[in-house]
């Protein structure tokens, strides 16, 4: 049935999109405040996946405890990186932080490769993964499968995105973040504690990416040091698609990308899956760099 095919792709696309969203949010928040693209963000995601492995396999934590473990470790890593590699360059020209971020990305990647090995590592089954056929359950559709993993991923992702929204909209720290993203200098002059807010933003963004990492480990049952490269690029594309600097934009872009990928894999050539993100990126940058939800920047002369 055509409809059930479509539904299947949508289900796959949504859970993939959720993962992209968690990563994209980190990119967009850091860019919104510091106007800097953290090239190393994909490595936070990769680190989170490995921390998930450590939590589940090495420490034997249950699933619900592994997640906070990932949040804390990945968040702390980001705070350290920001403190020592990015903060000294704050306010400098645009190239220096970019190069530093590239350097951090390489360092994190290589550290993990040297420590944990370049080979993919098996990720434990965090949850009993059951696959349901919707048709059986609901009685109408056939051949549409939903994995328990997918539901957990989608559900928890939405949960964490909800928490993020709460933090950003309803807490003083969130207000400070929003103030910084609107006008950094004015906020500083108004006494907003810049260093704390920036550190917190990095912590938030990286922990979301780390959660995405553990989800992906769970879903594909393997992780490897290079996983952050492609995922980072795709999540970045999602953020650009939605409008870099915009939180709803990142979510919109991520789900759009996830669904587009699923549709292309389903209806077209699966080997072109990765090319979708590239294509979208180039097209967006050429024609609408400020994204779907963004507004074009006016040059002040």
């Amino acid at each position: 049935m055509i409809f059930s095919e479509l539904l299947q792709y949508l289900i796959n696309g949504l859970s993939q999109g959720a993962v992209y969203a968690l990563i994209a949010l980190g990119y967009t928040m850091v860019y919104g405040i510091l106007k800097m693209i953290n090239f190393a963000h994909g490595e936070f995601y990769m680190f989170g996946a490995y921390m998930g492995f450590v939590g589940l396999s090495v420490l034997g934590l249950p699933f619900w405890a592994a997640i906070p473990f990932v949040i804390v470790t990945t968040g702390l890593l980001a705070v350290l990186v920001e403190r020592f590699a990015y903060r000294p360059l704050r306010g400098a020209n645009r190239i220096a932080p970019l190069i530093t971020a590239l350097g951090v990305s390489i360092v994190l990647l290589e550290l993990m490769r040297v420590t944990a090995g370049a080979q993919p590592r098996a990720f434990p089954q965090a949850l009993d993964n059951v696959t349901w056929e919707l048709g059986e359950t609901l009685g109408i559709l056939q051949d549409v499968y939903v994995q328990r993993n997918q539901l957990v991923i989608l559900g928890l992702s939405l949960f964490f995105m909800g928490i993020l929204r709460f933090i950003v909209m309803k807490t003083p720290m969130g207000r400070a973040m929003r103030a910084l993203s609107v006008d950094f200098d004015a906020s500083r002059l108004m006494g907003v504690p810049i260093n704390r807010v920036v550190a917190f933003t990095f912590f938030l963004g990286a922990s979301l990416a780390g959660i995405a990492g553990i989800f992906v480990g769970m879903y594909y049952n393997q992780i490897e040091p290079y996983m952050g490269q492609l995922a980072g690029l795709k999540a970045f594309t999602a953020a650009v698609l939605g409008g870099i600097g915009s939180i709803p934009g990142a979510v919109l872009g991520a789900f759009t990308l996830g669904i587009c990928e699923a549709l292309v894999v389903g209806y077209g050539e699966s080997s072109y899956r990765d090319a979708i993100a590239f294509g979208i990126l180039i097209v967006m940058l050429m024609f609408r760099p400020w994204g779907l939800l963004g507004t074009p920047e006016r040059v002040k002369v």
């Binding site: 400098a92 190239i95 390489i106 040297v114 590239f278």
Partner: protein, 304 residues
């Protein structure tokens, strides 16, 4: 042993060409291009295609001429690639430009990865070894001289003015779109030359020779030496060529070669963002080694 040093020198020469060509785009024009490996690849594959597929017999007969011709072809095709990348990127600023160029570089690599006529993922073997040390010297010298003549001319001043202040440059009548495109083309032309020398030295080409990390390495060369400085480009190329070889001496250390690269990148930005030459400019080192003050411009951080 001589063979080994000869190889290092050839690689050094190729890196000099790559570094000074990227310097035109990044250092002098101030455009953040991270896709240089793409132009390098276009030059390498097109020149190799000529000597291997199109005119192998003639190549065998007149190797020197063949290298020359294939290098010209490499420059031409790479220049066209530079045009194809530069024009769409005209409207992009800073970070966006960087990402777009990464994208283009990757697209070029993926194209070659899927192009059967040059071997796709199996690679392209059997490229005649035409590159010799004299030729590398000629190529590098040619590049350095031409680019120096370019930058120390009215054209060069227009290019630099874009880096300094694009809006003011336009107000002074500089056709910014033209010169940005021009910078891309010049940079890509010489990257193509480097590609030809590379292909005819390696004898075997594979798309993995042109991954994003290569673009990063070339960027590291000019950042290390000092953005916007020819001498810096040569110095940076020297260090970046030598470093892996030095690290190779120790078994363990050679494993962490890329890690060291990354650490160097971070360190340079934190400690001496104006590169080694910038470091020499200020402070007592300068007074120690150079008597006369040489006004060597470094990259001051004009906002992109």
């Amino acid at each position: 042993m001589i063979e080994y040093f000869g190889q290092i020198f050839v690689l050094f020469g190729i890196n000099v060409i790559l570094a000074s060509s990227l310097n035109v785009i990044n250092g002098y024009c101030g455009l953040f291009s991270l896709g240089h490996a793409g132009f390098f690849a276009v030059g390498a594959y097109s020149s190799a295609a000529f000597t291997t597929l199109i005119a192998p017999e003639w190549t065998a007969q007149s190797p020197h001429l063949a290298l020359l011709v294939s290098s010209l072809i490499a420059m031409g095709t790479a220049g066209i690639a530079g045009l194809a990348v530069g024009i769409p990127c005209l409207r992009l600023t800073g970070d966006y430009l960087a990402i777009a160029t990464v994208g283009f570089g990757e697209i070029i690599r993926i194209v070659f990865l899927n192009m059967d006529v040059v071997g796709a993922s199996r690679g392209m073997p059997g490229i005649p070894r035409l590159t010799t040390i004299p030729w590398v010297i000629v190529g590098a010298a040619f590049t350095l001289i031409i680019l120096n003549n370019l930058i120390k001319s009215s054209f060069g001043r227009c290019i630099k003015s874009i880096r300094e202040d694009e809006i003011a440059a336009q107000a002074m009548g500089v056709n910014v779109r033209f010169y940005k495109t021009f910078s891309f083309v010049v940079g890509s032309l010489f990257a193509g030359l480097a590609g030809s020398l590379f292909a005819h030295n390696q004898e075997f080409l594979h798309p993995s020779n042109f991954v994003f990390m290569i673009s990063v390495s070339v960027l590291l060369m000019i950042v290390l030496g000092g953005l916007g400085s020819q001498k810096g480009a040569v110095l940076g190329a020297f260090i970046v060529t030598l470093l892996p070889e030095l690290l190779r001496l120790n078994e363990f250390v050679s494993q962490i070669r890329m890690l060291v690269f990354g650490l160097i990148m971070i360190l340079v930005m934190l400690v001496f963002p104006e590169g080694l030459l910038g470091l020499l400019k200020k402070g007592s080192l300068k007074n120690k080694f150079f008597k006369k003050a040489k006004n060597e411009p470094g990259f001051s951080g004009a906002p992109l």
